[in-house]
Assembly symmetry: C2
Homo-oligomer: 184 residues x 2
DNA sequence: GCGATTCCCTACCATTTGGTAAGTGAGCGT
DNA sequence: ACGCTCACTTACCAAATGGTAGGGAATCGC
């Protein structure tokens, strides 16, 4: 709930009073549980990053290394982005929360990121994937998935509505892009 | 200046006092010129959208329709995103400013967007470009360019630093993606 | 049964926020 | 010289903000 509010209107744009009213508690109940707004932000970020890691890491591990793993991860990422867009919003909010906050979340995501880069690199070394910069691939894929889900205003501007069908189309487009980049 | 602050810390996260101190004026001087914070936001958005249109539309018009125009526009977009990343941040801030604000900016960008979609569609009808959904192409390209520039925290997490060389690499990757999608 | 703890509320508080009121000085047309 | 507008400034203000203090009810260990 707080996650959605922070992702939606930003941390600075969400007052504890608003939040409490939304949850049906008083501001002081929130402060009791989290100590301060800072504490709440920390908890929300930790939970969000945890969820992210849980879903994506699990998806990656179930598939065999190589293209299958890439596809499984992208599918999981799209599913998560559609089901819980607030996680994407949270990632975007990070930029304006300062480096310490970014560091907190990144340190939680780092093992997963390293694993992804490593897996891609390994695939390239084995010749199963075409050689390129795995980090560029990762960043590009991240940008497309998050950008498309988060900027719904932009979607509407080009005459698209974010729904299941569009998500499937976009997933197909992203996978085609990655296939072109990673397979020959 | 206000543009940078709004893009950087968000509208809600930027107080008029902070802003005024940064500019070397008093808050009341700002209020005198813009009437209210709302007025300032409106002006900043209008200016930002105008700049966006100026650069991108000009780039599109100088190149011949078809792939050349796509490439010219992407190059202009990357240039703008690197030179003035706050414009990207502003676009992202739109989402949390509510539909009216989004409408204001979108109506300013709409002719350019329609022209881009139309140009792509025309190229596909002529057979100069491979047939696909031009809106999906546009959204994907938008997401990559803006995502990569705006989420510098994510970049750093994968061990990349946003600089000229990286921007060039990314531009190459995006152009390769678009070429694969639009040319055969 | 009973003290302690947990959890939450009411009542405040200092600070910050966007915004108003009133004045001031520089420049400018007449 | 005079009035007038422009571009501010200082002095406020009411509301909202994050946070503290203290109390009360429910629950738990014993």
């Amino acid at each position: 709930m707080a996650t959605v509010a922070f992702a939606d209107r930003g941390v600075a744009g969400t007052s504890l009073d608003d939040l409490a009213r939304q949850v049906g508690m008083t501001k002081q109940a929130i402060l009791y549980h989290f100590g301060s707004k800072d504490g709440l932000v920390t908890a929300v970020l930790e939970q969000g990053a945890g969820d992210l890691v849980d879903v994506l890491a699990a998806a990656g591990e179930t598939a065999a290394a190589g293209w299958d793993r890439v596809e499984a991860t992208v599918r999981a990422a799209f599913g998560l982005a559609v089901r819980r867009p607030e996680l994407v919003g949270l990632l975007r909010e990070l930029g304006r929360l300062g480096p310490e906050r970014t560091g907190q979340v990144v340190s939680q995501l780092q093992p997963m990121i390293d694993a992804a880069v490593g897996s891609l690199q390994e695939g390239m070394d084995d010749g199963r994937l075409r050689r390129s910069d795995p980090r560029l691939v990762l960043v590009s894929a991240y940008a497309i998935v998050t950008g498309v889900v988060a900027d719904t205003g932009v979607l509407r501007a080009v005459g698209l509505e974010l729904n299941l069908k569009l998500a499937v189309d976009l997933r197909r487009a992203v996978l085609a892009f990655l296939r072109a980049a990673l397979l020959e």
